[in-house]
Symmetry: C2
Subunit: 198 residues, 2 copies
């Protein structure tokens, strides 16, 4: 990656106390975008943990299905990370390079993790509703309608969490890469002149 | 999003012909990172399209399984987009704001699409290997071993494509957001001083 030189010099020149309103608005949006998935993940977690049904056909519990166990774990990790990162994002602190990279990488990983959890659980529920004649998988939702509806609700919530995280990766990408100079002109001469003449 | 003012002034000052080596290296890496997924997607597509098996237990074709049909479509779209974007990325052209946003958004969407395709297909193959006693889904891979092995190969390739695309989103995020100023100091005064004194 080129243009690694940070624009700190220019920033110091500009006086960081000015025009912080925009920055604090973004910090508020970011904090909310981290608190919302936390609440949603907790909701999906509770719905999924309580999801079991027993009737004449037998008994079905969320832990019988691998994809749902993964969804529960992913939701738990996501709720915990969302809480911690919301606290970290709420603190009005000068963003360092390592802090920006940490947020960027963790946000990306969480987005991929929660998207994968939502996708595979949705696939299992789809199979449970439709069945698959070619591989003789039956329509489990015919017998376990309530179980499938609750699972669908948890998955829908998880997709909303995915959207929140897609938004968060936008913010954390911006926070990280706005510190770098654009690829073509990365010799920074202009900024150095500013330092000398400012 | 704050700091919308582009750093064009500073760029023009600096003389864009200098130090373009780093930029062209990144362009080469980016072009390769777009050609590689194209080849891999074509491979996964061919393996999956040819994936069928007939034996005493019956006949199984990739199109019998919804997740595999989605994988085929996603691989096709991904191969097409990779080719077009590789051509677009290879052209040494000053990156505009709309071009950077287009690459950023499409790269993100493709990453999510191909990750979801790989994840749900992996879940189906996992179920086909292991079965699920609670919802009476049988182990299809006991009878259709060759089918499952080819599907697994296609899915493994698709996961490598996902990794390539994760790298591409890094590059396209950098290209886009390095054009913006960092959040706190976004009044650009330092850059304007450079314009006057440079």
């Amino acid at each position: 990656m080129e243009g690694k030189r940070m624009k700190d010099n220019a920033q110091i020149e500009k006086g960081t106390t000015e025009n912080e309103n925009g920055s604090s608005t973004m910090r508020t949006v970011e904090t909310l975008l981290r608190i919302l998935p936390m609440a949603l993940c907790m909701g999906a977690l509770v719905i999924m943990l309580k999801d079991s049904q027993t009737n004449d056909f037998g008994s079905l519990h969320y832990s019988d299905i691998g994809a749902f166990r993964y969804l529960v774990h992913a939701s738990g990790i996501c709720a915990g990370y969302s809480l911690l990162s919301a606290v970290a994002a709420a603190i009005p602190k000068q963003s360092t390079m390592s802090r920006a990279w940490t947020f960027f990488i963790l946000d990306q990983l969480l987005t991929y993790m929660i998207l994968a959890a939502a996708a595979i659980s949705a696939e299992v529920v789809y199979l449970a509703y439709k069945g698959d004649a070619a591989i003789t998988w039956s329509q489990a939702c015919g017998s376990f309608g309530g179980f499938c509806r609750r699972a669908t609700a948890a998955i829908a919530i998880t997709f909303i969490v995915t959207l929140c995280y897609a938004g968060l990766t936008l913010i954390s990408s911006y926070r990280l890469f706005s510190k770098y100079d654009p690829p073509v002109a990365h010799n920074n001469r202009g900024v150095e002149i500013a330092t000398f003449h400012g």
